[in-house]
Amino acid sequence: MDSHSLANFKKYLTEQWGLPEDSIEQLCDGLVTKKVKKEEYLLRAGEVCALTFFVEKGLLRMYALNEKGKVDILQFAPENWLVSDRGSVYFNEPSNYYIDAIEESTVVLLDQNFMERISQLGHSFRKLNERLLHNHIRHLNQRVKLLLGASAETRYLNFIHLYPDILMRVPQWMVASYLGIAPESLSRVRKDLAKRNFKKN
């Protein structure tokens, strides 16, 4: 195991999950990282999702194919993000989603065993997990609200706040897909913003 490749994950465990530093090494012992090539899949619809993926380096996306066979992106996962189909993991049922790499990535694979080991640490992980789950629900509700009723520009402004550097890393159609708007609408929003904000010097 290349311990260097877990640097971001270890930092995440201490800073985001508040786990004590002296427990990190032991906890990460035996963890598996995976190098994922661009366009390589970590999950396909129809499979049961057994893992949660932590992005140590690179960029993943989670998407569904809609009734027209087009890609609807639910989530981007750049460095320091977790991505998984929680429903499929928890209910042990086939997933409706795909998770693949947009950039060559290094991913830490977290299984139930790892989650159990964290729980056994006795650092009120249950409480933390509950908080993460509620945060996730809050985020999803906000996303549904935006998709139902917000203008393309409001959706875009929320997007760049949540994912500051994704626009530079993916083709525009993917951003449009995430926002639930046509690529032409995204162009229009960006054109309007540029008209208001661009000052030639």
Partner: protein, 292 residues
Amino acid sequence: MSTRNIELVVPPRPPHFVGDGFRVHNFIPSSFRLTMERMSPFILMDYNSKFYFPPSEEPKGVGVHPHRGFETVTIAYKGKVAHHDSAGGGGVIGEGGVQWMTAASGVLHKEYHEEEFSKKGGEFQMVQLWVNLPAKFKMSAPKYQALNREDMNVHTLENGLGDIEVIAGQYGHTNGSASTFTPMHLFNAKLKEGGEATFNFPKDYNTALLVIEGEIIVNNEEKVPTDHFVLFENNGEDFDIRATENAVVLILSGEPIEEPIAAQGPFVMNTKEELVQAIEDFNLGKFGYLED
């Protein structure tokens, strides 16, 4: 006067594609010896070694992307590149031409194989350098310097065995065609078989060369073949090259910019905060707009 020795000869690394139109070997920044700091002010060098692109109806290239905080210098040896930017500028870099784009406070641009070249297909060979700007010029106004082959100032070697095209800086009494923000020299040495040239730069200038065509011998001892990069030590002023066959060599030497570098993707600033600002400005359209 003392000899500047070779520190490192770097063979071309496995190529990767930038967009679908540039098949490049990256030399800077890479590994511990060719970091941005080590080669400052030259903070990136991508080299598209001679490569045949078959005819294509759709011009290949790189779509709209931003830059802030530095300059891009594109030197076309084979093939033609068309470019457009968010300030309304654009043009074609033809064979033997150089485009010196000062991105500074920020531009969006795109670069594609020129339409006719794309339709016919052909050999493509190009160098792109990123030249850093000192803090006080990072937010200055963007500008272009387009240098065609015929505008290039040329120093003819005494023995008639070659020319030094002075893109920037000075060789002998010949001044460079491009203006720069910090002191540097950028030449194409075009030597006939047996041709020799000597170069003299201040000791502290970071100095390197790239063999574009042919084979040369550096300092009368080291044979350097095509597509190889030579990094020089900062231990002397002089070095010379001799062509064992007709050769083209890109020579670069510049005064290091002694400032912290914070780089992410297409932005090169001094601090992390300035990077965050650059990304936000890009997202909010402050670089303007350019259709893909």
